[in-house]
Symmetry: C2
Subunit: 285 residues, 2 copies
Amino acid sequence: MPLRPLVNRLDLCSINTATLGHRLPIQKTLDLIARAGFGAVAPWRRDMEGQDLNAVRRQLCDSGLKVNAYCRSTYLTARDSKGFKAALLDNCAAIAEASELQAECFVMVVGGVPEGSRDIAGARAQVAEGISMLRDQARSYGVPLALEPLHPMYAADRSCLSTLEQALDLCEQIEPGGFQSLGVAIDAYHCWWDPRLRQQIQRAGRQRRILGLHVSDWLVPTRDMLLDRGMMGDGVIDLRGIRRSAEAAGYRGHVEVEIFSRDHWWTCDEAQVLDTCAQRLQDVC
Amino acid sequence: MPLRPLVNRLDLCSINTATLGHRLPIQKTLDLIARAGFGAVAPWRRDMEGQDLNAVRRQLCDSGLKVNAYCRSTYLTARDSKGFKAALLDNCAAIAEASELQAECFVMVVGGVPEGSRDIAGARAQVAEGISMLRDQARSYGVPLALEPLHPMYAADRSCLSTLEQALDLCEQIEPGGFQSLGVAIDAYHCWWDPRLRQQIQRAGRQRRILGLHVSDWLVPTRDMLLDRGMMGDGVIDLRGIRRSAEAAGYRGHVEVEIFSRDHWWTCDEAQVLDTCAQRLQDVC
């Protein structure tokens, strides 16, 4: 399948609300994103705190915005079974919220190595157990789970799921036979360096498991491990190449912009950030 | 093969001179490392600037210190063929120095994506070509090349060689049939997160390619992407587990401490740092 042109097709694009720095109330954020012409939004749970989800849902309908994903899980890895159970419960509630918002998937960031532990294999086993249990909730609510491998620099404190291959291994282990309710979110920032990326994107496509494609850029130098992502085109990632691979593998979902940028983009006017996103999506993605 | 006890066996351990922050002249550094009882040292080229290598070699002999590795290559990846050729020449000179110091291997850090490029695959091809050419120099000087995959957070600016698997693929591509003069340095800091680590250590062992084992620790939080490594035992890495894998795969070389720590260990007295290294090697590695 040929690469979809994004020029004049912002309806194929989505804005993750983190890109705007969570500075505005969700109503205003949705309004800006819709007015800028984007087809979808990926809101965070923090945006929904204290909100009437039904009212948010109505605003989404009225504005024509889809919710391509709901962000994101509470970390599954925990020091003890009490913490693990609490994380499961909280994620069950989040999946219900995702359903209420008619989100196309719920993004899972699984957590790192629990405090005081050096057992990354044990953390990974805990993740497998947790995903397996949450899958039942996901099926009954009709909300697929998108496992998002994070860059290995977050393996200690955010995600012991570090590569696309590992995420797909987990999907197959828990849900053999191709996509039913477990898939992956491919974030270029997390995966761009991976020598097995192209091969694993193909594998993900064959299993119909690509539930999301996130773009931003890797800056040189990167001044903060969490909050210094770049705008597409400002770094070293071959974003078009990665999108080409995903679309060749059958991906037809939204291209989602997710930029954490405390010192630059989060200091800019939100409408201007959206304008830049729109331009760069069309020019370099 | 059982894990070698390190208690009272500092002769099996090495200090990479970067651990001491390159604050002292090499003569004093070698003296401190030998007096602390370590069996080997891994010096950097910068330590040798302006030095008479023969005199350094004599001091090493007199003190009984081996040189388990010489650090490290000039980045191979370059914007153009002129830069590439200059890097090759400089590395040829470094291999000759390594030979003069009777280093057991020369450590290769290959470079990231050249400035202005987004072509990581192209950078990797350049690395393969460069290693292939340097292997001739390595053979004629009798100095094995230890390819060191760096953590993926350095893929853009320091090393597009990011995993042990990728390093071994490169060794096999250039030098099929097991170790002759190409091997790998396994640095726990760079590789600890990798889901394929245990499997790839076994593979490296079968090919007799493990030329080095580096230890330090991954701190949570990590405050600087380059210069905030932890002392063994202060972070999340299962160092003994990784050493057990390497030794089960046949590794019998030195356990080398390499800690970049601008704000902590590089501010401490060198002899005290060496004492702590000695203690932690015996206690947690």
